[in-house]
Amino acid sequence: MTWSEMEPLLEQACWDTLYMVGWSAVIAVVGGLPLGVLLVLTDRGGVLQNVVVNKVVGQIVNVARSMPFIILMVALISFTRVIVGTTIGPEAAIVPLAIGAIPFYARLVETSVREVDGGLVEAVQSMGGSTWTVVRKVLLPESLPALISSATTTIVALIGYSAMAGTVGAGGLGDLAVRYGYLRFETKLMWITVAILAVVISVIQFAGDIAARGLSHRGRSSVAPRLVLLRGGASRAGKPAAAPQPRTAPAEIESVEPTKVP
């Protein structure tokens, strides 16, 4: 197979994969986020403690998560037909992909949100905040970096699932690698597919890490203070006479916090 023969195939497969993964990731986040938050809120000691709801939702999530994806896909065929009208093609693959990824992301959301310090929830309650305020102003913003990391993990997992979806006629890179690379002994094409997948996954992981780190303000590990330092250093070197804020002179800071004065 020459490159001119492979190129259109690869291009189509790439788009199919991105299309499937993109939409199912969006649906997974939209569905998994509230589910994960609900699991935390209804848990013992949670703001909306409700053991029955927690147990039921938790059980559904567990079952859906432990289901092998290839079986889930087959089991959902009739459901998929009702939703998108067909069981073949990228659109059809989005249904089982999203349904498989929702509980996956929900569990990750649950772990991330549970990490938020209970004292913060209490603080907002003491200000008169409602449960919705707690979710919107505390749980989600405080766990945002972890939520983004979780979404990255989910997307990478979805790319893996989408290759499986390829075997039942969804197209995409996985399908290409199996049909051409394996069944037709086009080893070169298979390796190109593998390389593309590796690049795609690396880019997604990298972007996710950068986004998560940029949003974290937890000090030492955070980028934000370092940027502030860099900016401070630059302005001092550039125009020392006209410091932007004379009030931030070290003497001022020390007078505010008497502990720092030896």
């Binding site: 703001v47 909306l48 403690q49 310090d117 004292g119 913060l120 209490e122 603080a123 907002v124 309650q125 003491s126 200000m127 008169g128 905040g129 409602s130 449960t131 305020t133 102003k137 505390v138 913003p141 405080e142 945002l144 949003l215 303000h217 937890r218 000090g219 030492r220 955070s222 934000a224 203070p225 502030v228 804020q245 009030r247 931030t248 001022e252 800071i253 505010v256 916090e257 008497p258 502990t259 720092k260």
Partner: protein, 351 residues
């Protein structure tokens, strides 16, 4: 301003019952700083969290600023809107600050205003004003992770004041801070109490906090209030445990045939040189075994354990002289001397 009557809280878990509060009656007057002290597990935290109903009492009532909060509470775990509104008028400061790490200092202070539905411009103005008040006007754009402990607590206080509360609850606000920072935070609380007429209810395990800023205090043990009242009155109460804890005096008599006396100085009498007067008038040698003096609210107060030669019978007249000077004198029996020390040690061991 804050009144609790017969407040009881029982925790139930796996069939086991733990009584955290056992019929607590607390009365905090308007405009005073009230300290609740006690060891870990005495129920202090539960008490303060019952005051704004973060913790639902099992029985009893809580009244803040004339409003019965327990009546506002719904059946469910989540708070109704009436209770939420009442809470927004009670500020609360926490031991571990509880600032949102994802928000800047200014945005943290704005949070309660967002909950109250204050418009954006007004929020910013108010937040900057409050930060100026607590001495952090230049830190508005910093993130909590970039601040020191004392600065974080100042932000916590600014945030607690955002809703213009009449009452401030402080849950061990200085316990995570070093002594010097503790002092500056306490000074800030005292200033706010005086400037804004804020009623402050604070819980602490540090006696120094009570000594430094409290008008009144209560001692808690095993979910009950053992002793309570104005600090000055408590000091004048014979055998007061709080007075003993606030101004601990130790010391063992140097031999047989000695009279050991605990003298409490407060008010007028504290300024007079009574000990040297006593010595001169009766020509006796006095040894000081232990003493704890401090200035509370501009007045010298303290306790001193002194030793007089001879048995009690021989010292009736000098002791009478001390009482005449307006001092409170408790005679510690000779046998009491060696026993006075093991008592606090036992308490430590009981933790």
């Amino acid at each position: 301003m804050i009144t609790t009557t017969d407040l009881t809280k029982v925790y139930r878990s796996r069939g086991r019952e733990v009584t955290a509060l056992d019929g607590v009656d607390l009365h905090v007057r308007e405009g005073e700083v009230y300290g609740v002290v006690g060891q870990s597990g005495a129920g202090k935290s539960t008490l303060i969290r019952c005051v704004n109903l973060l913790e639902r009492p099992t029985s009893g009532t809580v009244t803040v600023a004339g409003q019965d909060l327990t009546a506002l509470a719904g059946r469910r775990q989540s708070a109704g809107s009436a209770l939420r509104q009442a809470r927004s008028r009670i500020g609360m400061v926490f031991q571990h600050f509880n600032l949102l790490s994802s928000r800047t200092v200014r945005d943290n202070v704005e949070l309660p205003l967002e909950i109250l539905g204050v418009s954006g411009k007004e929020r910013t103005r108010k937040a900057l004003e409050l930060l100026e008040l607590v001495g952090l006007g230049d830190k508005a754009k910093a993130y909590p992770a970039q601040l020191s402990g004392g600065q974080k607590q100042r932000v916590g206080i600014a945030r607690a004041l955002a809703g213009d509360p009449k009452v401030l609850l402080s849950d061990e606000a200085t316990s995570a801070l070093d002594p010097e920072t503790t002092r500056s935070i306490l000074q800030l609380l005292r200033d706010l109490n005086e400037q804004l007429g804020l009623t402050v209810l604070l819980i602490t395990h540090e006696m120094d906090v009570v000594k430094t800023i409290c008008d009144s205090a209560a001692l808690m043990r095993d979910g009950r209030i053992v002793e309570s009242g104005r600090v000055s009155e408590l000091l004048a109460t014979p055998g007061s445990e709080l007075a003993q804890e606030l101004f601990p005096v130790g010391g063992v008599p140097s031999g047989e045939d000695r009279t050991v006396v605990d003298v409490t100085f407060q008010g007028e009498a504290a300024t007079k040189p009574v000990i040297s007067q006593l010595s001169r008038t009766y020509n006796i040698d006095i040894s000081i075994l232990g003493a704890a003096m401090d200035t509370v609210g501009g007045h010298q107060v303290g306790r001193m354990r002194i030793e007089l030669p001879g048995r009690f019978e021989e010292n009736v007249v000098p002791i009478g002289f001390l009482r005449e000077q307006g001092l409170q004198v408790d005679v510690a029996a000779i046998a009491d001397g060696p026993r006075a020390n093991p008592t606090p040690l036992l308490k430590e061991g009981a933790k």
